[in-house]
Each structure stands twice: as C-alpha cells, then as structure tokens.
C-alpha cells in the first residue's frame, strides 16, 4: 500500500530529525534524568548491593562539606579573576588591532594560537613553566628580572598554586573573546566615531560612549560563555595541581571527579553535578533576560 503524498510529506521532517534525536535522547536526555535520580540515592556501584533512597541527604551534605567550601571558593576566585581578565585584555587587544592598518591578520593569528591548542597540552606546559626552583617562570623572576630573591614554589603552596591555573585560563582564553570583539568592532560604522572626534570627544570617551554600548550584546555573550567555561574549569587543575597541596586548590569539578571516581560516591557526585548545573543554567537564563531575543544567542 502506498502512502498518500500528504502523509508522506508529514513524515519527512521527523525522518530527518530522527537520527540526531535518538542519539541525543540516549546519550544526553536519559543521562540527565538518570543523574537526577542517582543524586537522591546512596548509589551502589556493586550490582548485588542495592542502592538506597536518601532524599536530599546528598545535597545537604554538600553544604557541610568543608572541601566543597574550599572548592567553591577556588572556583569563584577563578571565575572572578579569569573572566574579567580575559574580557578586559581581549577588548584592549581588539581595539588596538582594529586601529592598526598593517599586521591585523598576523596579530589575530598569534593571539588565537593558544585557543586552538588542547587543554591537556597547555596544562602540562604551564606545569613545566611554573616548576620550582628551576622552572622558566622562576628563571624570569629571579635571574632575568630580579623580581624575587628566591624561586617561588608556585605549585607547592596553597596560596600560589592557583596562579598558574588562573594564568593559563587567561592566556588561553584571550584570543577567543578578542576574535569575537574584533568582528563586532568591524560592524560599527566609522562615521560615528569620526563625528564624535570632531565634536571634541577623546579616544577614551569615544570608547565608553560609542563603541562599548554598540558592542554590548557581544560583550554580554562572551560574559555568559566565559562564566560557563569558568565554572567548568577542570582539566588545568587536574593536570597542574590535581587539587593539591592538601586539596587546597580543588575546584568544583575536580572535587566532584575525585569524589565520584576516586571514592566511588556516585550519589554525592551526582548531587554536586546538579548543584553546579543549576548555577550554570541560572547564568544562561540571565543572558536570556538581558538579550530580549534569545535567537541572538545562536
């Protein structure tokens, strides 16, 4: 029996969506729901040991867990330093590159190289550079520029171990925001700035009053993306300090990972996951609110 043309036409869009939808449901939607379930259980990894329902216990436990506090504080510090750091430096570079006539492509390429390099490799590289006493950075600090008398044991002490991690975050991320800002700057008509210059506005005023307001949707876009990225910091911590010394540089995701796959505490790990997800979705929602048209995101 042949289907009528109309039924056939009705089916077609579903057929086109089906492969993506199946893959998406099995590997993304189902785990999302399953994860929520796990977070309410004292989940047993052993097949013959039953998991027990514990209600909100895993969630309340997070609030009394001292290391969660440390990890959260470190994550927030990371976000508060690397996000504005990347944005300000990227904007400065974008404005400068936009203003020059020669070497635009050259500089754009140079600043973008760290962006395309894998996190694993640059994390190992920064661990190498920040070694003490004989690392490259310490060589600069002590022998070349005489900024410190002795080598700084960056990775061995809690109050300096975040420096290479945050430094890496900024160094690797600048190029990404810069490229996006450059594109946004190129959409601003020259006439606006020129007219303001004739009226006596200096470069600084022109930037604040004309350029920045015009690129503000783009700035907001990068802000939210960087916030999400910042809360997700993991690989650099895992490979540079692995949370040490004494779990003092643990960030949210590294702690979650250690709890889950180190101590096999899946229920607690899942609860920690959902608390982070809640934060991130809230941050994304914020962007939706500010950008009236959500399609601008895409």
């Amino acid at each position: 029996m042949k289907m009528s043309m109309r039924t056939q036409k009705k089916l077609i869009p579903y057929l086109f969506i089906l492969p993506a939808f199946i893959l998406f449901c099995v590997f993304m939607v189902y785990p999302l729901i399953k994860g929520l379930q796990i977070s309410f259980y004292n989940w047993s990894v052993m097949p013959n040991n039953p998991s027990t329902f514990v209600g909100w216990d895993n969630y309340t436990r997070a609030f009394t867990d001292k290391i969660v506090g440390v990890a959260f504080k470190n994550t927030i510090t990371y976000v508060l330093i690397t996000v504005p750091g990347q944005m300000i430096l990227a904007m400065l570079l974008a404005v400068l590159i936009h203003s020059v006539t020669k070497g635009k492509v050259f500089f754009r390429t140079i600043y973008y190289i760290p962006v395309v390099t894998s996190w694993v490799i640059v994390s190992l590289l920064f661990r190498y550079l920040f070694q003490s006493p004989h690392g490259v950075i310490n060589y600069f600090l002590v022998d070349l520029f005489h900024l410190t008398k002795e080598a700084v044991p960056f990775l061995q002490q809690a109050n300096t171990a975040m420096i290479p991690i945050m430094g890496l975050g900024i160094w690797k991320g600048i190029g990404w925001s810069m490229i996006i800002y450059l594109a946004a700057l190129s959409t601003i008509p020259h006439e606006l700035s020129e007219a303001a210059a004739i009226d006596g506005a200096n470069a600084w005023q022109r930037f604040w009053k004309i350029t920045l307001p015009l690129v503000s949707p783009t700035v907001l876009f990068t802000l939210v993306m960087l916030l999400i990225g910042g809360f997700n910091v993991f690989i650099s911590v895992y490979l540079i300090t692995n949370g040490g010394p004494m779990q003092q540089t643990e960030v949210y995701l590294s702690y979650l990972y250690h709890q889950t796959f180190g101590y096999l505490d899946f229920g607690y790990g899942a609860a920690l996951s959902f608390m982070l997800a809640f934060l991130i979705v809230a941050a994304s929602g914020l962007q939706m609110k500010f950008l009236r048209r959500p399609q601008e995101l895409m």
Binding site: K10, L23, F24, S99, G103, S118, W119, V120, H134, L239
Partner: protein
C-alpha cells in the same frame, strides 16, 4: 608636531601588541626547545630557548614509544568518525527545523536548546553507568557515539542558521521538477551551505581530537587510549622527561595546527555567526 604625536601613538600600539604576542608565543617556544634537547632527565638551568645540542631524538623516541602510533590512530578514528556523524545527523535535523513546519517542532527544538546549556561534565556519572550498561566502556565506537551526542545540538543551531539564510527559489524549482526532499537536501542544501558545514566540521573535529574527561573516564584499556589521555599519562610515567612529553605533545598538535593555519577564515566566520548579528 602632530605627525610626530601620531607616529608615537602608532608605535606604542605596535609595541603593546608585540609584547602581548611574545607572551602568547613564548611558552610554545620553550616547549619546542625543551623537546629538542635529547636525554634530558634533569631540568636545564637556566632554561635555553636555543639549545646547542638540538636534535629530533625525542620526536623519534616518542613516536616509537608506548603504542604512541596506535594512540594517534585511535584519536584520528574517533575524531573523524564522530565529526562525520555529527555533521550528517545535525545537518539533516537542521534542514527539517529550517524548512518544515510540523507538530512538536517547538518542543523538540526547545529540548535540544535546554540540554545544550547543561555542561556536559555533569552528565559524566550517568553516562558512565550507561556506557557500562550498553557494553560500550573501553570501546572507541562508544566514544564516537557519545562525542557526537554532546556536540549535536550546537551543530544543529549553527546549521539551522545557515540553512535559513539560503534562498528558497532553488528548492521550489527542484520540487516542481519532481525532486524528492532527500535529493534537495543532498544536492541543494548541503552544497550551498558548504561554509557552514566546514565550520561545524572543524570545530567538532578539534573538540573531539582534544577531548579529555570522557576518554579518561570511559576508557581503561591501555590499547584504546586517545592522544590526550596518552600524553597526560605519559607525563605521569616519564615524570621529569619533559623533552619526551613535549615531543609527543607537538606531534599531537600537528593536525590541529594544519587545520588552523589552512582554514583560518572558517574560524572567524564560525565563531562570529554565533555572537555577532549586527
């Protein structure tokens, strides 16, 4: 006087850009120079940017050591296959979202959108259990499926945007000529949106080539490791032999840099379709 001032301003700008550029590049230079010094068990001090006894020994050693070639092939297989699946599946779905009206369209689209915002790392626990249940732990095809699934919604959004910008006349003419929708998709939509397809392919490939957390979690079998895992563990095993670690890293970077330097315009295009819309 004014000319002089302008010249000073210009040279200051270039000076800042150059200093910044040096900061971007210098870590890589140290990586290369460390990789060029053979048999380096202790760290050289002061570190040398231009080592006198430079050789390619570390590169040869790394390439021949610890199944490195197998890891390279594993990574290539996973990244290429997952990119193909991502592009084909997401292009098909994007075509449906861009050109058809059907029941449930908004709901399905919204589901893709919401889950896209959820950071993939938080799904790692249930995904781990799922992979175990499906017998896909320690399986490269398993990694391919999960990689494709994580990037599919972003790709659908990007490609839908591309498809929507294409003129409809060609498709309408083809329909009148009796062409089916599948023919229209493969013969008209795909070729016309080649730049979009290229962007999605590049970003997917690079993300898959570098992916660390899932590969670390789902793959235990040493023979099935991908390069990022191999390199991280390599560093663990060979501790202070940074020359060897960085030689391996630089080999792993070759495909990425080849793509980046040859297809640069797609990077800018791809990034900005998302962010800048006048």
């Amino acid at each position: 006087m004014k000319v002089l001032l302008k010249l000073m301003k210009k040279s200051t700008i270039y000076a800042i850009l150059l200093v910044g550029g040096v900061i971007m590049v210098i870590p890589f230079l140290y990586m290369i120079s460390t990789a060029l010094v053979p048999n380096l068990y202790v760290i050289q001090y002061p570190p040398q940017l231009f080592p006198q006894n430079a050789s390619l020994d570390n590169f040869i050693k790394a390439w021949q050591a610890n199944n490195f070639q197998a890891y390279f092939i594993n990574s290539a297989f996973v990244a290429v296959t997952a990119t193909l699946i991502t592009v084909v599946f997401s292009a098909m779905a994007a075509y449906a979202f861009a050109r058809f009206t059907f029941k449930g369209k908004e709901v399905i689209f919204f589901t893709f959108l919401v889950v896209m915002m959820v950071p993939t790392t938080i799904l790692i626990i249930p995904q781990f259990l799922l992979m175990k249940f499906l017998g896909l732990r320690n399986s490269l095809p398993g990694l391919v499926l999960i990689y494709s699934a994580t990037s599919i919604s972003m790709s659908i959004f990007l490609l839908r945007g591309f498809f929507e910008q294409l003129p409809k006349e060609l498709e309408e003419a083809a329909l009148l000529d009796g062409a089916g929708y599948f023919t229209i998709f493969t013969q008209i939509m795909l070729p016309l949106s080649a730049p979009g397809i290229a962007t999605v392919s590049i970003f997917s490939f690079m993300a898959f080539w570098d992916e660390f957390i899932m590969a670390l979690t789902f793959i235990d079998d040493p023979a099935k490791r991908t390069l990022p895992i191999a390199i991280a563990l390599f560093q663990g095993q060979h501790g202070t032999q940074w020359g060897l670690v960085f030689a391996a890293s630089l080999i792993a970077l070759i495909p990425i840099f080849l793509i980046f330097f040859s297809l640069q315009k797609h990077f800018v295009g791809g990034l900005t379709t998302g962010a800048v819309k006048g």
